[in-house]
Symmetry: C3
Subunit: 102 residues, 3 copies
Amino acid sequence: MSPALTPKKLVTIVCEAELEALLLPELKRQGARGYTLTEARGQGDRGVRDGAWRASSNIRIEVLCDDAVAGKIVDMLQTRFYADYGIVVFVVDASVLRPAKF
Amino acid sequence: MSPALTPKKLVTIVCEAELEALLLPELKRQGARGYTLTEARGQGDRGVRDGAWRASSNIRIEVLCDDAVAGKIVDMLQTRFYADYGIVVFVVDASVLRPAKF
Amino acid sequence: MSPALTPKKLVTIVCEAELEALLLPELKRQGARGYTLTEARGQGDRGVRDGAWRASSNIRIEVLCDDAVAGKIVDMLQTRFYADYGIVVFVVDASVLRPAKF
């Protein structure tokens, strides 16, 4: 692979579209230096009791960042949003070309 | 990384938009507990003989699941859809915050 | 995981929507055999001096390919586009079902 690449974390958040205005400033506060947002739709369990999939209008937000910022974002989401919102977060290892940007 | 994260698989399926109604129940049947869908477009080879890229209206479906379900989804796609449809599937390692959901 | 899967690279490019017509032929020239494109929006630093996030209409292009082609795409982007455009590139390890296609 190109020597120009350095390891970073790709944090992907899928949540209700209404959360955008609330979430973006929080991401920046935790150290995110940018984001990519795509419109999405999806379904998922709300809990163990109700196995049915719910349809909803979602957004999918990606943030490239270092390990420390990824951890802070995950912790912030867990503390502030998980109890009240249908939100999914996953982290993937990524090699990024322009590391100085993140 | 946050101790709240646990390893899962992110299965991404890119296919013709018309396949949505056929595919989603199959994913659930293989054990998927939710999905994220985005509208996409793309091009790819249909086969070796014709090297031209074809444009088409696609969907991009993501499923977070454990190893076993990922394997079942891949096998189902290969058995039921690969011969007849332009479909792409790839699997990525992901660390997921809310493992009980998948 | 299914034995039908083989390791590839998933190259994701996020850039201004206007770059599409310029970028796609370049990807093909470097050996990409297909792509998936989704509309996106996002913000990021333009540089060190201006820390504000800029909003813009973006596209998100994904290419599945082998290591060599991924390296060529990254090098091409760095050489031809990085100085003049707001562009983000990252590479993720992916297991792909239909390897003959990429």
